[in-house]
Amino acid sequence: MTAISDRRQLAYIAAQAADARVNVELEAEGMTLNIGPQHPATHGTLRIVARLDGEQVVEANPVMGYMHRGYEKLAEVRTYPQVTALINRIDWLGSFANEVPFILACEQLMGIEAPPRAQHIRTILFEMARIANITLFLGDMGVQLGAVTPIFYAFRDREHILNQIESATGGRFHPNFDRIGGLKDDLPAGWIEETKRSLREIHKFCDQMDDLIIGNEIFQARTRNIGVIPPDVALSYGLSGPNLRASGVDWDLRRDSPAGLAYDQVDWRVWTHPDGDSFARYWVRLQETRESCKIVEQLLDSIPAGPIMAKVPRIIKVPEGEAFVETENPLGVMGYYVVSQGGLEPFRVKIRSASFSNMSISPWLLKGAYVPDVITILASLYFILGDIDR
Protein backbone atom coordinates (compact mmCIF):
# COMPACT_ATOMS: atom_id res chain seq x y z
CA MET A 1 0.00 0.00 0.00
CA THR A 2 2.71 2.36 0.95
CA ALA A 3 4.44 1.73 -2.32
CA ILE A 4 1.37 2.79 -4.31
CA SER A 5 0.84 5.96 -2.34
CA ASP A 6 4.53 6.71 -2.72
CA ARG A 7 4.19 6.31 -6.44
CA ARG A 8 1.16 8.60 -6.47
CA GLN A 9 3.07 11.17 -4.56
CA LEU A 10 5.97 10.92 -6.94
CA ALA A 11 3.61 11.29 -9.91
CA TYR A 12 2.08 14.36 -8.28
CA ILE A 13 5.48 15.90 -7.74
CA ALA A 14 6.45 15.12 -11.32
CA ALA A 15 3.24 16.74 -12.63
CA GLN A 16 3.93 19.81 -10.52
CA ALA A 17 7.43 19.99 -11.88
CA ALA A 18 6.16 19.61 -15.46
CA ASP A 19 3.69 22.43 -14.89
CA ALA A 20 6.44 24.60 -13.56
CA ARG A 21 8.57 23.77 -16.57
CA VAL A 22 5.74 24.68 -18.96
CA ASN A 23 5.25 27.95 -17.12
CA VAL A 24 8.92 28.74 -17.37
CA GLU A 25 8.83 27.87 -21.08
CA LEU A 26 5.87 30.18 -21.69
CA GLU A 27 7.63 32.99 -19.89
CA ALA A 28 10.75 32.40 -21.93
CA GLU A 29 11.33 34.29 -25.16
CA GLY A 30 11.08 31.41 -27.60
CA MET A 31 8.65 28.63 -28.23
CA THR A 32 9.26 25.35 -29.98
CA LEU A 33 6.75 24.38 -32.65
CA ASN A 34 6.68 20.89 -34.00
CA ILE A 35 5.45 20.68 -37.56
CA GLY A 36 4.85 17.04 -38.27
CA PRO A 37 5.69 14.13 -38.35
CA GLN A 38 2.00 13.79 -39.20
CA HIS A 39 1.12 17.05 -40.84
CA PRO A 40 -0.86 17.45 -44.05
CA ALA A 41 1.55 20.06 -45.36
CA THR A 42 4.51 17.72 -45.27
CA HIS A 43 3.01 15.14 -47.71
CA GLY A 44 4.24 12.27 -45.61
CA THR A 45 6.18 11.95 -42.44
CA LEU A 46 8.60 14.84 -42.19
CA ARG A 47 9.11 16.66 -38.93
CA ILE A 48 10.28 20.23 -38.68
CA VAL A 49 11.26 21.56 -35.29
CA ALA A 50 10.87 25.30 -35.42
CA ARG A 51 11.98 27.66 -32.69
CA LEU A 52 9.70 30.68 -32.71
CA ASP A 53 9.99 34.22 -31.49
CA GLY A 54 6.41 35.46 -31.66
CA GLU A 55 5.37 34.85 -35.23
CA GLN A 56 8.88 34.58 -36.60
CA VAL A 57 10.96 31.48 -36.98
CA VAL A 58 14.34 31.82 -35.30
CA GLU A 59 15.60 28.37 -36.11
CA ALA A 60 14.13 25.47 -38.04
CA ASN A 61 15.53 21.99 -38.32
CA PRO A 62 14.08 19.25 -40.44
CA VAL A 63 14.11 15.78 -38.87
CA MET A 64 14.26 13.21 -41.62
CA GLY A 65 14.25 9.45 -41.66
CA TYR A 66 10.73 8.57 -40.60
CA MET A 67 10.19 6.89 -43.95
CA HIS A 68 13.58 5.33 -44.44
CA ARG A 69 13.08 2.05 -46.31
CA GLY A 70 16.68 1.17 -46.97
CA TYR A 71 16.63 0.80 -50.74
CA GLU A 72 20.39 1.13 -51.00
CA LYS A 73 20.84 -1.93 -48.80
CA LEU A 74 17.92 -3.83 -50.33
CA ALA A 75 19.45 -3.36 -53.76
CA GLU A 76 22.57 -5.22 -52.63
CA VAL A 77 20.63 -8.46 -52.20
CA ARG A 78 18.56 -8.18 -55.39
CA THR A 79 19.60 -8.98 -58.94
CA TYR A 80 19.79 -6.09 -61.40
CA PRO A 81 16.34 -6.65 -62.97
CA GLN A 82 14.80 -6.84 -59.50
CA VAL A 83 16.25 -3.52 -58.43
CA THR A 84 14.16 -1.55 -60.92
CA ALA A 85 11.00 -2.90 -59.30
CA LEU A 86 12.18 -1.50 -55.97
CA ILE A 87 13.44 1.89 -57.02
CA ASN A 88 10.08 2.69 -58.60
CA ARG A 89 9.00 3.54 -55.08
CA ILE A 90 11.52 6.32 -54.41
CA ASP A 91 9.74 9.25 -56.02
CA TRP A 92 6.30 7.71 -56.21
CA LEU A 93 4.65 10.40 -58.30
CA GLY A 94 7.04 10.12 -61.22
CA SER A 95 8.08 6.50 -60.90
CA PHE A 96 9.43 5.88 -64.37
CA ALA A 97 11.97 8.65 -63.94
CA ASN A 98 13.60 6.74 -61.08
CA GLU A 99 14.45 3.78 -63.28
CA VAL A 100 16.20 5.69 -66.04
CA PRO A 101 19.47 6.75 -64.31
CA PHE A 102 19.95 3.30 -62.75
CA ILE A 103 19.44 1.55 -66.08
CA LEU A 104 21.75 4.03 -67.81
CA ALA A 105 24.44 3.38 -65.19
CA CYS A 106 24.15 -0.39 -65.68
CA GLU A 107 24.25 0.01 -69.45
CA GLN A 108 27.35 2.14 -69.13
CA LEU A 109 29.02 -0.58 -67.05
CA MET A 110 28.05 -3.32 -69.47
CA GLY A 111 29.02 -1.24 -72.49
CA ILE A 112 25.73 -1.62 -74.32
CA GLU A 113 23.42 0.98 -75.74
CA ALA A 114 19.67 0.78 -76.12
CA PRO A 115 18.39 0.89 -79.72
CA PRO A 116 17.13 4.30 -80.92
CA ARG A 117 13.47 3.27 -80.68
CA ALA A 118 13.92 2.30 -77.04
CA GLN A 119 15.74 5.56 -76.26
CA HIS A 120 12.91 7.48 -77.88
CA ILE A 121 10.13 5.73 -75.98
CA ARG A 122 12.18 6.00 -72.79
CA THR A 123 12.35 9.75 -73.22
CA ILE A 124 8.60 9.95 -73.89
CA LEU A 125 7.76 8.03 -70.72
CA PHE A 126 10.37 10.02 -68.78
CA GLU A 127 8.68 13.26 -69.74
CA MET A 128 5.22 11.83 -69.04
CA ALA A 129 6.40 10.90 -65.55
CA ARG A 130 7.53 14.50 -65.16
CA ILE A 131 4.14 15.79 -66.25
CA ALA A 132 2.32 13.44 -63.86
CA ASN A 133 4.58 14.55 -61.02
CA ILE A 134 4.50 18.30 -61.58
CA THR A 135 0.77 18.40 -62.38
CA LEU A 136 0.09 17.36 -58.82
CA PHE A 137 2.41 20.07 -57.50
CA LEU A 138 0.57 22.71 -59.51
CA GLY A 139 -2.65 21.79 -57.74
CA ASP A 140 -1.11 21.02 -54.39
CA MET A 141 0.52 24.43 -53.99
CA GLY A 142 -2.96 25.95 -54.02
CA VAL A 143 -4.09 23.65 -51.22
CA GLN A 144 -1.21 24.74 -49.02
CA LEU A 145 -2.44 28.32 -49.37
CA GLY A 146 -6.07 27.43 -48.73
CA ALA A 147 -7.38 27.15 -52.29
CA VAL A 148 -9.00 23.74 -52.60
CA THR A 149 -10.21 23.86 -56.21
CA PRO A 150 -6.91 23.39 -58.12
CA ILE A 151 -6.07 20.02 -56.54
CA PHE A 152 -9.25 18.47 -57.91
CA TYR A 153 -8.44 19.72 -61.40
CA ALA A 154 -4.90 18.41 -60.95
CA PHE A 155 -6.04 14.93 -59.93
CA ARG A 156 -8.53 14.85 -62.78
CA ASP A 157 -6.05 15.81 -65.49
CA ARG A 158 -3.17 13.77 -64.10
CA GLU A 159 -5.38 10.74 -64.58
CA HIS A 160 -5.19 11.19 -68.39
CA ILE A 161 -1.41 10.84 -68.23
CA LEU A 162 -1.51 7.97 -65.72
CA ASN A 163 -3.98 6.08 -67.91
CA GLN A 164 -1.57 6.38 -70.82
CA ILE A 165 1.34 5.21 -68.70
CA GLU A 166 -0.78 2.28 -67.55
CA SER A 167 -1.86 1.22 -71.01
CA ALA A 168 1.76 1.23 -72.20
CA THR A 169 3.50 -0.27 -69.17
CA GLY A 170 0.82 -2.05 -67.15
CA GLY A 171 1.25 -0.04 -63.98
CA ARG A 172 -0.20 3.35 -63.16
CA PHE A 173 2.34 4.23 -60.50
CA HIS A 174 5.01 1.59 -60.68
CA PRO A 175 5.73 0.93 -64.35
CA ASN A 176 8.84 -1.26 -63.96
CA PHE A 177 9.17 -0.93 -67.72
CA ASP A 178 12.82 -0.06 -68.21
CA ARG A 179 15.24 -2.91 -68.78
CA ILE A 180 18.99 -3.05 -69.19
CA GLY A 181 19.40 -2.74 -72.97
CA GLY A 182 15.99 -1.42 -73.83
CA LEU A 183 12.39 -1.69 -72.75
CA LYS A 184 10.15 -4.51 -71.60
CA ASP A 185 7.66 -4.22 -74.43
CA ASP A 186 6.74 -2.08 -77.40
CA LEU A 187 3.92 0.45 -77.43
CA PRO A 188 0.41 -0.89 -78.08
CA ALA A 189 -1.43 0.17 -81.24
CA GLY A 190 -3.32 3.45 -81.00
CA TRP A 191 -1.25 4.65 -78.05
CA ILE A 192 0.27 7.63 -79.85
CA GLU A 193 -3.10 9.12 -80.79
CA GLU A 194 -4.48 8.63 -77.29
CA THR A 195 -1.42 10.26 -75.74
CA LYS A 196 -1.73 13.31 -77.97
CA ARG A 197 -5.31 13.67 -76.79
CA SER A 198 -4.28 13.47 -73.14
CA LEU A 199 -1.53 16.05 -73.68
CA ARG A 200 -4.12 18.47 -75.00
CA GLU A 201 -5.92 18.07 -71.66
CA ILE A 202 -2.69 18.95 -69.85
CA HIS A 203 -2.30 22.07 -72.00
CA LYS A 204 -5.82 23.09 -71.03
CA PHE A 205 -4.99 22.39 -67.39
CA CYS A 206 -1.91 24.62 -67.56
CA ASP A 207 -4.01 27.45 -68.98
CA GLN A 208 -6.51 26.98 -66.18
CA MET A 209 -3.72 27.16 -63.59
CA ASP A 210 -2.49 30.35 -65.25
CA ASP A 211 -5.90 31.93 -64.68
CA LEU A 212 -6.65 30.33 -61.33
CA ILE A 213 -3.35 30.65 -59.51
CA ILE A 214 -0.69 32.67 -61.33
CA GLY A 215 -3.02 35.62 -61.92
CA ASN A 216 -4.61 35.45 -58.49
CA GLU A 217 -3.75 38.47 -56.34
CA ILE A 218 -3.94 36.54 -53.07
CA PHE A 219 -1.54 33.91 -54.38
CA GLN A 220 0.88 36.59 -55.52
CA ALA A 221 0.70 38.38 -52.19
CA ARG A 222 1.43 35.15 -50.36
CA THR A 223 4.33 34.02 -52.56
CA ARG A 224 6.10 37.05 -54.06
CA ASN A 225 9.33 37.86 -52.20
CA ILE A 226 8.69 34.97 -49.81
CA GLY A 227 11.45 32.42 -49.38
CA VAL A 228 13.93 34.07 -51.72
CA ILE A 229 16.94 31.92 -52.63
CA PRO A 230 19.80 33.82 -54.28
CA PRO A 231 21.60 31.85 -57.02
CA ASP A 232 24.89 31.49 -55.12
CA VAL A 233 23.14 30.11 -52.03
CA ALA A 234 21.12 27.73 -54.19
CA LEU A 235 24.28 26.41 -55.77
CA SER A 236 26.13 26.11 -52.48
CA TYR A 237 23.32 24.02 -50.96
CA GLY A 238 23.26 21.72 -53.97
CA LEU A 239 19.79 22.61 -55.13
CA SER A 240 18.80 21.24 -58.49
CA GLY A 241 15.92 21.06 -60.89
CA PRO A 242 13.19 23.69 -61.03
CA ASN A 243 14.21 25.07 -57.62
CA LEU A 244 17.60 26.02 -59.02
CA ARG A 245 16.20 27.34 -62.29
CA ALA A 246 13.75 29.51 -60.36
CA SER A 247 16.79 31.23 -58.84
CA GLY A 248 17.99 32.18 -62.28
CA VAL A 249 20.63 29.50 -62.81
CA ASP A 250 20.33 28.14 -66.32
CA TRP A 251 21.26 24.52 -65.67
CA ASP A 252 19.38 21.52 -66.99
CA LEU A 253 20.91 18.08 -67.45
CA ARG A 254 18.38 17.23 -70.14
CA ARG A 255 20.04 19.81 -72.34
CA ASP A 256 23.58 19.59 -70.99
CA SER A 257 24.13 15.82 -70.97
CA PRO A 258 21.37 13.98 -72.81
CA ALA A 259 23.37 10.75 -73.22
CA GLY A 260 21.12 7.74 -73.67
CA LEU A 261 18.01 9.86 -74.12
CA ALA A 262 16.55 11.61 -77.14
CA TYR A 263 16.43 15.20 -75.90
CA ASP A 264 18.88 16.44 -78.52
CA GLN A 265 16.42 15.58 -81.30
CA VAL A 266 13.70 17.97 -80.19
CA ASP A 267 13.28 21.70 -80.16
CA TRP A 268 12.68 22.98 -76.65
CA ARG A 269 13.97 25.51 -74.18
CA VAL A 270 14.89 25.71 -70.50
CA TRP A 271 12.84 28.15 -68.45
CA THR A 272 14.41 30.23 -65.72
CA HIS A 273 13.10 32.98 -63.47
CA PRO A 274 15.30 35.69 -61.95
CA ASP A 275 13.39 36.16 -58.66
CA GLY A 276 14.07 32.95 -56.75
CA ASP A 277 10.98 33.27 -54.55
CA SER A 278 8.07 30.86 -54.05
CA PHE A 279 6.20 32.42 -56.94
CA ALA A 280 9.14 31.87 -59.27
CA ARG A 281 9.34 28.21 -58.32
CA TYR A 282 5.66 27.76 -59.15
CA TRP A 283 5.97 29.67 -62.40
CA VAL A 284 9.00 27.70 -63.58
CA ARG A 285 7.25 24.40 -62.92
CA LEU A 286 4.16 25.52 -64.81
CA GLN A 287 6.26 26.50 -67.82
CA GLU A 288 8.16 23.24 -67.58
CA THR A 289 4.97 21.20 -67.75
CA ARG A 290 4.09 22.97 -70.99
CA GLU A 291 7.59 22.42 -72.29
CA SER A 292 7.40 18.71 -71.41
CA CYS A 293 4.12 18.45 -73.33
CA LYS A 294 5.88 20.01 -76.32
CA ILE A 295 8.79 17.56 -76.04
CA VAL A 296 6.46 14.56 -75.91
CA GLU A 297 4.37 15.83 -78.83
CA GLN A 298 7.46 16.21 -81.00
CA LEU A 299 8.87 12.82 -79.97
CA LEU A 300 5.58 11.04 -80.65
CA ASP A 301 5.71 12.13 -84.28
CA SER A 302 9.23 10.85 -84.86
CA ILE A 303 9.54 7.44 -83.22
CA PRO A 304 12.09 5.49 -85.31
CA ALA A 305 11.26 1.97 -86.41
CA GLY A 306 13.26 -0.98 -85.15
CA PRO A 307 13.72 -3.27 -82.18
CA ILE A 308 13.28 -2.09 -78.61
CA MET A 309 15.81 -4.38 -77.02
CA ALA A 310 19.55 -4.63 -77.60
CA LYS A 311 21.29 -8.00 -77.45
CA VAL A 312 21.50 -8.73 -73.75
CA PRO A 313 22.26 -12.08 -72.09
CA ARG A 314 19.35 -13.74 -70.38
CA ILE A 315 21.11 -13.78 -67.03
CA ILE A 316 22.47 -10.30 -66.50
CA LYS A 317 25.93 -10.09 -64.99
CA VAL A 318 27.41 -6.62 -64.86
CA PRO A 319 31.20 -6.57 -65.28
CA GLU A 320 33.42 -5.25 -62.51
CA GLY A 321 33.59 -1.51 -62.25
CA GLU A 322 31.72 1.52 -61.08
CA ALA A 323 29.55 4.11 -62.78
CA PHE A 324 27.74 7.26 -61.77
CA VAL A 325 24.92 8.52 -63.96
CA GLU A 326 22.61 11.39 -63.14
CA THR A 327 19.58 12.67 -64.99
CA GLU A 328 17.19 15.56 -64.62
CA ASN A 329 14.24 14.05 -62.78
CA PRO A 330 10.98 15.86 -62.01
CA LEU A 331 12.26 16.97 -58.60
CA GLY A 332 15.82 17.72 -59.63
CA VAL A 333 18.99 15.82 -60.33
CA MET A 334 18.86 12.14 -59.45
CA GLY A 335 21.95 10.01 -59.66
CA TYR A 336 22.90 6.41 -59.10
CA TYR A 337 26.40 5.32 -58.18
CA VAL A 338 26.58 1.61 -58.98
CA VAL A 339 29.57 -0.48 -57.92
CA SER A 340 29.72 -3.96 -59.39
CA GLN A 341 32.04 -6.81 -58.56
CA GLY A 342 30.97 -8.86 -61.54
CA GLY A 343 28.19 -10.74 -59.81
CA LEU A 344 24.45 -11.01 -60.24
CA GLU A 345 23.80 -8.31 -57.66
CA PRO A 346 25.27 -4.82 -57.35
CA PHE A 347 27.94 -4.57 -54.66
CA ARG A 348 26.82 -1.09 -53.68
CA VAL A 349 24.22 1.33 -54.91
CA LYS A 350 24.29 4.93 -53.75
CA ILE A 351 21.26 6.98 -54.60
CA ARG A 352 21.56 10.74 -54.92
CA SER A 353 17.99 11.93 -54.75
CA ALA A 354 16.91 15.47 -55.50
CA SER A 355 14.58 16.10 -52.59
CA PHE A 356 17.23 15.41 -49.96
CA SER A 357 19.43 18.21 -51.24
CA ASN A 358 16.48 20.49 -51.88
CA MET A 359 15.34 19.95 -48.31
CA SER A 360 18.75 20.71 -46.85
CA ILE A 361 18.32 24.39 -47.60
CA SER A 362 15.26 24.64 -45.33
CA PRO A 363 17.12 25.68 -42.10
CA TRP A 364 18.68 28.57 -44.00
CA LEU A 365 15.51 29.43 -45.85
CA LEU A 366 13.05 29.24 -42.96
CA LYS A 367 15.14 31.46 -40.67
CA GLY A 368 13.25 34.70 -40.27
CA ALA A 369 10.15 33.50 -42.06
CA TYR A 370 6.70 33.93 -40.54
CA VAL A 371 4.78 30.85 -39.41
CA PRO A 372 2.12 30.97 -42.16
CA ASP A 373 4.88 31.30 -44.75
CA VAL A 374 6.66 28.17 -43.54
CA ILE A 375 4.05 26.01 -45.22
CA THR A 376 4.20 28.07 -48.42
CA ILE A 377 7.97 27.85 -48.61
CA LEU A 378 8.01 24.11 -47.94
CA ALA A 379 5.29 23.55 -50.52
CA SER A 380 7.14 25.58 -53.14
CA LEU A 381 10.36 23.62 -52.56
CA TYR A 382 8.29 20.54 -53.52
CA PHE A 383 9.87 17.49 -51.99
CA ILE A 384 8.52 13.97 -51.89
CA LEU A 385 9.17 12.10 -48.69
CA GLY A 386 10.08 8.87 -50.41
CA ASP A 387 12.69 10.82 -52.29
CA ILE A 388 14.14 12.35 -49.14
CA ASP A 389 14.39 9.21 -47.02
CA ARG A 390 14.65 6.46 -49.66
Binding site: P81, S167, N176, D186, D211, L212, G215, N216
Partner: protein
Protein backbone atom coordinates in the same frame (compact mmCIF):
# COMPACT_ATOMS: atom_id res chain seq x y z
CA UNK B 1 -2.74 43.83 -62.76
CA UNK B 2 -4.60 43.51 -66.03
CA UNK B 3 -7.98 44.90 -66.98
CA UNK B 4 -9.87 42.15 -65.16
CA UNK B 5 -8.66 41.32 -61.64
CA UNK B 6 -7.12 37.87 -61.33
CA UNK B 7 -9.66 36.82 -58.73
CA UNK B 8 -12.51 37.32 -61.19
CA UNK B 9 -10.65 35.41 -63.93
CA UNK B 10 -10.14 32.56 -61.49
CA UNK B 11 -13.80 32.53 -60.59
CA UNK B 12 -14.59 32.42 -64.30
CA UNK B 13 -12.57 29.20 -64.61
CA UNK B 14 -14.45 27.65 -61.70
CA UNK B 15 -17.78 28.77 -63.15
CA UNK B 16 -16.97 27.26 -66.56
CA UNK B 17 -16.08 23.99 -64.86
CA UNK B 18 -19.38 24.00 -62.96
CA UNK B 19 -21.29 24.48 -66.23
CA UNK B 20 -19.26 21.67 -67.82
CA UNK B 21 -19.92 19.30 -64.92
CA UNK B 22 -23.64 20.07 -64.88
CA UNK B 23 -24.05 19.59 -68.63
CA UNK B 24 -21.71 16.68 -69.37
CA UNK B 25 -21.56 14.95 -65.99
CA UNK B 26 -18.74 14.43 -63.52
CA UNK B 27 -15.54 12.60 -64.40
CA UNK B 28 -15.60 10.46 -61.27
CA UNK B 29 -16.34 6.78 -61.76
CA UNK B 30 -18.86 5.78 -59.09
CA UNK B 31 -17.02 2.58 -58.27
CA UNK B 32 -19.34 -0.13 -56.96
CA UNK B 33 -22.08 0.90 -59.40
CA UNK B 34 -19.94 1.49 -62.45
CA UNK B 35 -16.51 0.02 -63.05
CA UNK B 36 -13.41 1.36 -64.61
CA UNK B 37 -12.11 -0.55 -67.57
CA UNK B 38 -8.38 -1.16 -67.12
CA UNK B 39 -6.26 -1.51 -70.26
CA UNK B 40 -5.36 -5.07 -71.38
CA UNK B 41 -1.79 -4.66 -70.16
CA UNK B 42 -2.83 -3.67 -66.64
CA UNK B 43 -1.21 -5.75 -63.94
CA UNK B 44 -4.21 -6.89 -61.93
CA UNK B 45 -3.84 -10.54 -61.04
CA UNK B 46 -1.62 -13.38 -62.23
CA UNK B 47 -3.29 -16.25 -64.06
CA UNK B 48 -1.76 -19.72 -64.37
CA UNK B 49 -2.01 -22.01 -67.38
CA UNK B 50 -1.28 -25.29 -65.61
CA UNK B 51 -0.61 -27.39 -68.73
CA UNK B 52 2.40 -25.24 -69.64
CA UNK B 53 4.03 -25.14 -66.22
CA UNK B 54 6.98 -27.50 -65.80
CA UNK B 55 7.79 -26.50 -62.20
CA UNK B 56 11.15 -25.13 -63.36
CA UNK B 57 11.18 -22.67 -60.42
CA UNK B 58 12.48 -19.75 -62.50
CA UNK B 59 9.67 -17.45 -61.33
CA UNK B 60 10.28 -18.47 -57.72
CA UNK B 61 13.93 -17.55 -57.94
CA UNK B 62 13.39 -14.26 -59.76
CA UNK B 63 10.59 -12.97 -57.54
CA UNK B 64 11.97 -9.95 -55.61
CA UNK B 65 9.94 -10.66 -52.48
CA UNK B 66 9.68 -14.44 -52.72
CA UNK B 67 5.90 -14.73 -52.77
CA UNK B 68 5.60 -17.72 -55.16
CA UNK B 69 5.67 -21.26 -53.78
CA UNK B 70 6.05 -24.25 -56.09
CA UNK B 71 6.32 -27.93 -55.33
CA UNK B 72 6.51 -30.65 -57.94
CA UNK B 73 7.54 -34.22 -58.52
CA UNK B 74 8.81 -36.27 -61.45
CA UNK B 75 6.41 -38.70 -63.10
CA UNK B 76 6.41 -40.87 -66.21
CA UNK B 77 4.22 -39.74 -69.08
CA UNK B 78 3.22 -41.93 -72.04
CA UNK B 79 5.61 -41.68 -74.99
CA UNK B 80 4.96 -39.25 -77.83
CA UNK B 81 5.29 -41.93 -80.53
CA UNK B 82 3.92 -45.45 -80.19
CA UNK B 83 6.64 -47.84 -79.14
CA UNK B 84 8.85 -45.09 -77.71
CA UNK B 85 10.19 -44.83 -74.18
CA UNK B 86 7.96 -43.19 -71.54
CA UNK B 87 9.01 -39.59 -70.85
CA UNK B 88 9.88 -38.09 -67.48
CA UNK B 89 7.91 -34.93 -66.83
CA UNK B 90 7.55 -32.62 -63.86
CA UNK B 91 4.11 -32.70 -62.34
CA UNK B 92 2.91 -29.63 -60.48
CA UNK B 93 1.76 -30.32 -56.93
CA UNK B 94 1.54 -26.85 -55.56
CA UNK B 95 1.60 -23.39 -57.15
CA UNK B 96 0.72 -20.64 -54.69
CA UNK B 97 1.06 -16.90 -55.02
CA UNK B 98 0.72 -14.87 -51.86
CA UNK B 99 -0.91 -11.60 -52.94
CA UNK B 100 -0.33 -10.25 -49.46
CA UNK B 101 3.36 -10.10 -50.39
CA UNK B 102 3.26 -9.62 -54.16
CA UNK B 103 4.34 -6.18 -55.33
CA UNK B 104 3.03 -6.59 -58.88
CA UNK B 105 6.34 -6.03 -60.60
CA UNK B 106 5.65 -8.57 -63.35
CA UNK B 107 9.09 -10.17 -63.31
CA UNK B 108 7.67 -13.72 -62.94
CA UNK B 109 5.49 -13.33 -66.03
CA UNK B 110 8.45 -11.95 -67.95
CA UNK B 111 10.92 -14.72 -67.05
CA UNK B 112 8.54 -17.66 -67.61
CA UNK B 113 10.09 -19.55 -70.56
CA UNK B 114 7.06 -21.77 -71.19
CA UNK B 115 4.27 -19.14 -71.23
CA UNK B 116 2.55 -20.54 -68.19
CA UNK B 117 1.71 -17.35 -66.28
CA UNK B 118 -0.08 -14.26 -67.58
CA UNK B 119 -1.36 -10.94 -66.35
CA UNK B 120 -5.07 -10.39 -66.15
CA UNK B 121 -6.50 -6.89 -65.55
CA UNK B 122 -9.02 -8.18 -62.99
CA UNK B 123 -8.65 -6.41 -59.68
CA UNK B 124 -11.60 -7.42 -57.49
CA UNK B 125 -10.21 -10.09 -55.22
CA UNK B 126 -9.80 -8.40 -51.88
CA UNK B 127 -10.44 -10.54 -48.84
CA UNK B 128 -11.43 -9.83 -45.24
CA UNK B 129 -8.73 -12.21 -44.02
CA UNK B 130 -5.17 -11.68 -45.18
CA UNK B 131 -4.52 -15.44 -45.30
CA UNK B 132 -7.13 -15.80 -48.04
CA UNK B 133 -4.95 -13.69 -50.34
CA UNK B 134 -2.85 -16.81 -50.92
CA UNK B 135 -4.22 -18.12 -54.22
CA UNK B 136 -3.61 -21.80 -54.93
CA UNK B 137 -3.29 -23.31 -58.38
CA UNK B 138 -7.01 -23.94 -58.93
CA UNK B 139 -7.81 -20.33 -58.04
CA UNK B 140 -4.97 -19.06 -60.22
CA UNK B 141 -6.17 -21.21 -63.13
CA UNK B 142 -9.64 -19.72 -62.86
CA UNK B 143 -8.19 -16.31 -63.68
CA UNK B 144 -7.04 -17.69 -67.04
CA UNK B 145 -10.36 -17.00 -68.75
CA UNK B 146 -10.09 -13.30 -67.88
CA UNK B 147 -6.71 -12.92 -69.62
CA UNK B 148 -7.13 -10.67 -72.68
CA UNK B 149 -5.41 -11.30 -76.01
CA UNK B 150 -2.12 -9.47 -76.57
CA UNK B 151 -2.56 -6.13 -78.27
CA UNK B 152 -1.03 -5.46 -81.66
CA UNK B 153 1.90 -3.06 -81.65
CA UNK B 154 2.29 0.51 -82.84
CA UNK B 155 3.67 1.03 -86.36
CA UNK B 156 7.41 0.52 -86.76
CA UNK B 157 7.65 -2.16 -84.13
CA UNK B 158 9.88 -5.16 -84.73
CA UNK B 159 8.25 -7.26 -81.99
CA UNK B 160 5.95 -10.17 -82.73
CA UNK B 161 2.51 -10.37 -81.15
CA UNK B 162 2.33 -13.46 -78.95
CA UNK B 163 -0.74 -15.61 -78.44
CA UNK B 164 -2.43 -16.53 -75.19
CA UNK B 165 -2.97 -20.32 -74.95
CA UNK B 166 -6.62 -21.23 -74.51
CA UNK B 167 -7.88 -24.56 -73.20
Amino acid sequence: MGLVPGLITGLGVTFKEIIKTVTTGAETVQYPHEKEDPPPRARGVIALHQENCTACMLCVRECPDWCIFIEGHKTLAPPRRTGGKPRTVNALDRFDIDYGLCMYCGICVEVCPFDAIFWSPEYEYSEPRIADLLHDKTRLSQWMETVPEYESYEAGSAAKVKKVPRP
